[in-house]
Each structure stands twice: as C-alpha cells, then as structure tokens.
C-alpha cells in the first residue's frame, strides 16, 4: 500500500518535474565523430536532448543513400544524447564526396531535394549535418 501511495504521489508530481524529455525532434543535432571499426564505419551524432526512443526510425541520409542501423543512448550526467549509425565499410567507400548529410526521424523515402527543403524551412524531424567527404573518417 505504501508503494502504491508513493507511485501515485510521483505521478501527481510528474507535471511539475523537469525531466530530460525524450523526443524533441526540434532539438539540435550535430555530427560528433566518424570512426572506422573493422568493416564498419560508425557515425556518431549528438544532441543536447535525448533522441526520440519511439517507433519510427532515425535515418541517416548521405546523398541518395540511407542508413538505418543505429544504437542510441543518453548520458544523464553530461545531458548528451547520442545516436551512432553503423555503416558497412563497402557502403561507406561507395559514397560520393560533396553529397549532403541529413538526419531525419522517419522520412526515409524523401529525396535529397526534399530534405534540403526540410532543413531550409526548419521542418521538425530533420537536420542538415553538412556535406560528405571521405576525409570525414579522420574526424
């Protein structure tokens, strides 16, 4: 009974708590590291807020290529959310320099042109992360 009372009080207080909020698509995101690990190249993106832990997919677009496999985390001490995409080394090598890099939540089927419009018009759920260069691997 005590536990139940405790939970009810916590739920009641929830509205006034300031918690790290999952899922603000409007939060900023930036490319923090690109690291080669064996046959995989890992693109790590960070944000000042946790990335959405939802049902849609985060998609890393580089030109007309899309990458989905990722792992995500949130560091409660540094308040940094991380999203690390795993890109096959062969796919990485096939990417073309100068293509735009975008992160979206959903929108897997949009064209590069549409993504440019997204970020230009600051649509939520999309971030422009600059232009791709193979030299990025040294970052």
């Amino acid at each position: 009974m005590k536990n139940r009372t405790f939970i009810i009080i916590l739920v009641a207080l929830l509205g006034s708590c300031t918690l790290p909020v999952y899922g603000q698509k409007t939060a900023s995101a930036s490319l923090a590291a690109v690291i080669e690990k064996g046959n995989t190249v890992e693109f790590t993106l960070t944000s000042s807020r946790p990335f959405v832990f939802g049902n849609n997919r985060y998609v890393l677009h580089i030109g007309d290529k899309v990458f989905f496999r990722n792992r995500q985390s949130y560091d409660e001490t540094t308040l940094v959310g991380s999203l690390t995409f795993m890109v096959d080394k062969n796919d990485f090598n096939a990417l073309q320099n100068g293509k735009g890099i975008y992160l979206t939540y959903g929108y897997a089927e949009e064209t590069e042109q549409a993504l440019e419009e997204f970020t230009k018009n600051k649509f939520p759920g999309s971030w422009s992360l600059g232009k791709f260069s193979k030299d990025i691997l040294s970052k």
Binding site: Y22, V52, S73, G106
Partner: protein, 756 residues
C-alpha cells in the same frame, strides 16, 4: 414455447439470435460484458528466454506478461487475444524518473511495463469471455535499432514463444505460474493478435512465423494499431484491421495502411476481408496508458509534441478548434472498434459487421466519437466482391477490370496516379507523410483515379460488359475516395452523384454525401505532416437505385453536379454483397405411422463452396439432452401426442472466413396413437448377459435410450444407444439389474446381470 438449450447449443443459439436483428440497430461493442474479470501477471525472468535462430536476435529476452480472464472459467475453453506493445523506453531511474533504453534494467532503475498499457482493452474483451494475454518486449526494444530487421523476426518469435507457454499451461504443464488453473481453458485454435506500432509489424511477422511452423496455432484475426511497416511484408489469408491515427506524431506517415493496401489484389487466393480505421483526432501513444503522460510514473509523452506545439492547428490539443481527442476519448474510441473487430472475426458475433463494413457509419456511443471523427474502410472478401475498376494501372483510364470501357467527359484532369512507378503522383507534389497511400522512392503505393472538375456536366463513367450486368446479386456499390487537397484547397465538403444506367437507358441516381462524410477537406497546416490524404470507403445500397433493372446495369457514372469545382481520388470501385452469403436452411419431416417417431430430412442448401453444420431443437424440453441433435438427418421420438415447434439451426462456414447462422422452424403435430404399440416393439436383445465391462444392444435405433435400474429402482445408468457397444461404468457392482430400452414404439425391459 420456451426452448432450453444446454451448453454450447445455447451459445450458438444466442449467437444466432444476436445476428439477425442486428441490421436495424447495431449493438455497442465497447460496453462491458457479463463476465467478472481477473487480472494476473507472470514473470519468468528478465533474461530467461534464449530465442531460436529464427529470431535473428543476439540476446536473451524476458518472459513477462499479464492475463485477463473471466473469473468463472467453467464454460471454457475461451478464445484468446494477445497484445504486443511497440517501441518505448524500457526502464526508468527510480530517483530522477528519467527513462532510457536499457535492458535488463540496472540497479536503481525499474522496468517500464508497456504491456500493461492495454489493460482497459483486455478488461473489455475478457468481460465478453476472452482470455487476453499482453506480453512484454522490452529486450527487443532495447537493441532493435541496431538490427537490420528492426527486431521484427524477434517479435514474431517472442509472440510464438508466449503462445507455446500458454499451450503448455492450458494442457499438460501444471508446473507454470498458474498451475492447473487454465488447463482446458484456452482455445489455441481461435486466436486474435493486436500489435501497436512496431508491435503491429511484429504480429504480422508472427503470423508468418506461425504459418512457417505449420500453423500450430489458429491465428484468425490481426489488428495493427498505428503500425510501422518497415519491411513491407504482406499478410494474406487472415482478416486484418489497421488503424491510422491522423495526429500520429511518431509514425507520422501512417505507413501501416500499406498492410491494407498491399494485400488487396496481389494474392488471388486470398479471401480474407481487410479493414481500415482512420481516427481523425488520435495520436500515436495515447492508446497505451503507460505511454500516456500523467498516467504512468515515467516515460509518457504526447508524440504530437515531438514535432509541433500544443497549439498547432487541428492536432495540437490546445489549439482553437482542435480536432485532438483527449486521452479518455482516444481510449474509448479504440475500446469500441478493437472489440468490434475481434468479436466479429474471433467471436463470430456478426451483429458488429455493420460497423466494420460501413452499413452503419455512426460510431458506437461508447467510442465517444461523432460521425466525422472516424472513418472505416473495408475490402470485402473476393467471394463477396465484383471489382468494376481496381484503378490499378494506367490502362484503367480506358478499360476497367471487367474489360468495359472507361470514359470521361470534360474533366479538368483525369489520371491514374499514385503508385509511383510509371505513374504521376496525383498532383500531390508534397512530402510522403502527407500522402500515406502513395508510393515513394523505391516503394509502391496505391494507384488511384484522380479527377478534377469545374462544371456540373462533367462525368466519369465505367461501362459494364453484358456478362457482368446482373448486379442484382450484390447489395452495394462501393469505392474509396479522398479529396485531393492540393487541387481543392478550401471549401465545404465535396459532393457528387453516382448514377446507374440500365440496358434500356433508364437511370437512377444517388447523392454521395447522403452516405458518407469522407469528402472532407483534410485538416492541419504542418507542411511535411499535415494535411494527409487518406482514402475512405463510400458504400451505397443498390436498393436505393430504384426504377432501373438491376439485372441489366450497363453503366456506372460519377456525375460531378453537386459541387461547382472539386478534385478527388478514387480507388477500388466494386459491387459487394453481404458477408453472409446465400444459404437456405430447410427440412422435411415424416411421422412414422402410429408412433411418436419423426424422421427429419435436412434439405438445406449451402452457398457455393461453403460448408454447413446443423443443430436441431425438437421443441420438447422435457426430453433434456435428447431435445437436440447435431446429426444431419436425425430421428426424434416424442413422448406424447401434441403440437411441437422443431427448429433447424444452420451454421454456414463461409469461404470468406465468416460464420453465419440461419434457421428454419416448423410446427409438428403428433397425433394420438391407436392400436397396440407392443405389437410393433422391435426385437431387441442384450448380450453378453451376464455382462462385465460392456453391453451390446441389438435391434435398437440410434435414438433409443437405455436406462439401467438397480434392485431399489434407482437409475444407475442412462444413455442413448448411439452404437451397439455400450461401456458399463466400473462403479456398477456385481448384481441383478433391470435394463429398459425406450424406443419410439414403447419400452422393452430385460433382466441384466453384471458380474465383475
């Protein structure tokens, strides 16, 4: 006459009685039933299950779930419903209440019990006599982002594993958490599954996995709730209902509608009906109470706020004139429509068919919705449908599906569009989330007929070749339609006329707006998300088209004479008929001269390919269990002269997956016997005598009854003589008995000795 039916006969009869008065007033599927419901939990461990290779999952999973069940299990086995939640935070910090994606939860953290978020649905279903299981899938959610299949195979395997657990707990495995409580209580051949979000694609994967194993479980219906459809598997052969929440801020492209769209025509053997529900004010998360902000300790969030403000047009809950459902309404809405689906396809309660097939577009009162807040679409079984124009290729602009000509006159534009490959995008030159049916880069969508008009004489017309002109065998004309918001940006609801023209030129018209609100301008202004173009079914009864010969209808015309200008998209133009096809219950009766014996001869006629089963009630309650029979052609012996009502209840197992019931009743007048019945008594003998473990009766009819009395005149055995050999219960001690065989001609008494 009061008819008393025991056991499942009563259930069957009640089902029948509830089916046929249904059309006039549709019952409310969201109301609680008569069963008191108990909830129990099971937890075999956070990492107790190592899935097989088919799961493509590298870690151990939890075996955690809940079950809602009727407190009185005596009338089981009960049909089974299983829920699978979607992707959500898995743990929360006990101190900060922040949530995360760990699994298992480390010290200082506790699991988020997403599987408990559908308890309100489980309670409703269990109160109607279902056993409802909801399972936890947090281990999958914790790492599925790194998997190439997003954990879908693992979800399918996990569902199968829980079904395996429950098969054991309901049969031989009494070492589980419920011991013998559920033994014999779950019907594992009549199962419905519901998956929310990633769980939606998960239950589709489970159906495929179950089939790949030889279908050990009978999965009879699947409900996908705001699902993802990342991998575009197509479900065939199982009735499906997909629900799209218009204000979905998570899976905002409503991609789950592909489960409906993709399965319409691609498998010619598929006879399963499909349904789609569009809820105009629902978001993604509020269907689950654990995901609902304020109703659980951690992790709840209104997904609409992932992207937009609370005051955003239509979907912002705080906007002026908002269209958003509050949390109570959203759950009430699902709590009406999900039971309607499962109670039709799992419970065979056809009284809810009008909801699923849009005979009634008024939402059930318990849903708390008004017409215009919810739209139901259906794709009838191939056995209940004649496709006039599937609009599924560019050719359909000139030639329809039955090879009739297609013409238009004066339209501003007309085109087959939307599929993506070789087809234009219907003028909706905007983002994918705003046109969920359309194809996109690398994915196919729905081909639709786009039509824009600006004059009342403009029309679109399909001609019907002679071989298909008899549409009197169908009951409705229907199609899916949506306003093209890019070409028709503002204004009141659109409207037009459907006209049927017969072979002598007589015509009859019906105004579309009299049957639907689907021609609305889609709300919202969040470019990239809203408005969304969604197709919704319009269904018009053919009986409304009077003054023409429905046996020779030559043309179907859309006449755009009700709105000055407009632009619409149309798909799936078809004629449909009721889900319960034609079958005719009937019988003949013949009274054996000077007896009380009646020979019933079944003359029922099944629809083509359907199979019939029978339940007779002879209208003589005093004969107890012998008042009913499931034989095709039974013989019943009445105990006395009199007037009786004998009914034949016919259950038709139809090719379209529906189970339908109809009946035929007659008055049977049994005259008083004359003469000496004993002269007509058959020659009946019993042997061996003395008997030990069994008794053989020679010369009796299958409906005759053997009653054994001991020396005190007590009945120690009473049984119908269904075969020649009758086992004698071990409880009968050695001794002398009287064996009385009751026949239609009278009673034969034999001395019986039992020697053990």
């Amino acid at each position: 006459m009061k008819i008393i039916l025991p056991g499942f006969f009563l259930v069957l009869l009640l089902t029948f009685l509830s089916v046929f008065p249904a059309i006039a007033q549709v019952p409310d599927p969201g109301l609680l039933g008569t069963h008191t419901v108990i909830k129990a939990e099971y937890n075999l461990g956070d990492t107790s299950y190592l899935p097989p290779a088919a799961a493509m999952f590298p870690k151990k999973m939890e075996e955690i779930g809940s079950v809602h069940y009727p407190s009185d299990l005596s009338s089981g086995p009960f049909p089974v419903i299983l829920f699978l939640h979607g992707r959500h935070s898995t743990c929360y910090n006990l101190t900060t209440l922040s949530d995360n994606g760990n699994w298992p939860c480390p010290a200082g953290q506790a699991p988020i019990t997403s599987y408990e978020g559908y308890d309100y649905l489980a309670n409703t279903m269990a109160s109607h006599g279902y056993i409802v299981i909801s399972i936890s899938a947090n281990a999958i959610n914790a790492i599925d982002g790194s998997l190439s299949d997003y954990g879908m195979n693992a979800r399918g395997v996990l569902v199968q594993h829980h079904l395996d657990l429950w098969k054991g707990w309901s049969t031989t495995d009494t070492s589980g958490p419920f011991h013998s409580l559920f033994v014999g209580k779950l019907n594992m051949q009549n199962i419905g599954t519901m998956g929310h979000s990633r769980g939606g694609e998960g239950v589709v994967f489970n159906a495929e996995y179950n089939a790949s194993l030889g279908s050990p479980y009978g999965i009879k219906a699947i409900f996908t709730l705001a699902p993802v459809d990342f991998l575009r598997h197509v479900l065939y052969g199982i009735p499906l209902c997909d629900l799209s929440p218009y204000c979905d801020g998570d899976v905002n492209d409503l991609q789950g509608v592909h489960f409906y769209d993709d399965a319409r025509y691609s498998d010619t053997a598929d006879a399963a009906p499909k349904h789609h529900i569009l809820m105009m004010g629902a978001d993604h998360d509020l269907f689950n109470t654990v995901w609902t902000p304020g109703s659980y300790i951690a992790g709840g969030f209104d997904d609409w706020l992932y992207s937009y403000s609370n005051t955003a047009t239509w979907c912002g809950a705080g906007a002026s004139g908002t269209g958003r459902f509050d949390t109570t309404v959203q759950k009430a809405a699902l709590n009406a429509y999900l039971p309607a689906f499962f109670r039709v396809y799992i419970g065979h309660e056809n009284q809810f068919v009008p909801i699923l097939f849009t005979d009634s577009i008024a939402p059930p009162a318990s849903s708390m919705l008004d017409t215009g807040q919810v739209y139901v679409s259906f794709h009838a079984s191939k056995y209940n449908r004649l496709d006039l124009n599937r609009t599924d290729s560019l050719d359909r602009m000139t030639t329809n599906t039955v090879a009739g000509t297609v013409t238009e006159s004066g339209l501003v534009s007309s085109q087959v569009c939307g599929n993506y490959l070789m087809e234009p995008d219907c003028g909706i030159t905007t983002y994918k989330a705003m046109k969920p049916h359309n194809g996109g880069a690398g994915t196919l969508g729905v081909s639709m007929m786009g039509m824009q008009w600006n004059d009342s004489v403009q029309y679109y017309m399909n001609t019907i070749p002679a071989a298909y002109q008899n549409i009197s065998v169908y009951t409705d004309i229907n199609f899916r339609v949506s306003v093209n918001f890019k070409q028709q940006t503002t204004g009141p609801n659109l409207n037009f006329t459907v006209e049927l023209i017969d072979s002598v030129g007589d015509s009859s018209r019906q105004v579309v707006a009299n049957y639907t609100n689907a021609l609305f301008h889609q709300p919202g202004t969040q470019t990239g998300d809203l408005p969304k173009m969604m197709l919704n079914t319009v269904k018009i009864p053919l009986s409304k088209f009077t003054g023409i010969n429905l046996a020779k209808v030559r043309k179907v015309k859309f006449l755009f004479n009700k709105s000055d200008t407009g632009s619409i998209l149309v798909s799936d133009l078809a004629f449909t008929n009721p889900v319960c096809g034609t079958f005719t219950p009937a019988y003949k009766d013949s009274i054996v001269h000077n007896t009380y014996k009646v020979i019933f001869t079944n003359t029922s006629i099944a629809g083509n390919g359907d199979s019939l089963r029978y339940l007779w009630n002879f209208g003589q309650p005093g004969s107890g269990v012998y008042d009913t029979s499931t034989l095709t052609n039974p013989i019943h012996t009445y105990s006395a002269a009199g007037t009786y009502t004998a009914c034949l209840y016919v259950t038709s197992y139809q090719k379209n997956d529906f189970i339908c019931v109809d009946s035929a009743c007659k008055t049977i007048v049994i005259p008083t016997r004359t003469g000496v019945p004993s002269l007509q008594l058959p020659q009946i003998s019993i042997y061996p005598n003395p008997a030990k473990n069994y008794l053989m009766v020679n010369g009796a009819e299958p409906t005759d009854v053997l009653t054994v009395f001991n020396l005190y005149g007590q009945v120690v055995l009473k049984t119908t003589i269904t075969g020649q050999t009758l086992p004698l219960p071990e409880s009968l001690p050695s001794g002398v008995y009287s064996a009385v065989i009751t026949t239609g001609f009278g009673k034969v008494v034999k001395k019986l000795v039992i020697e053990r």
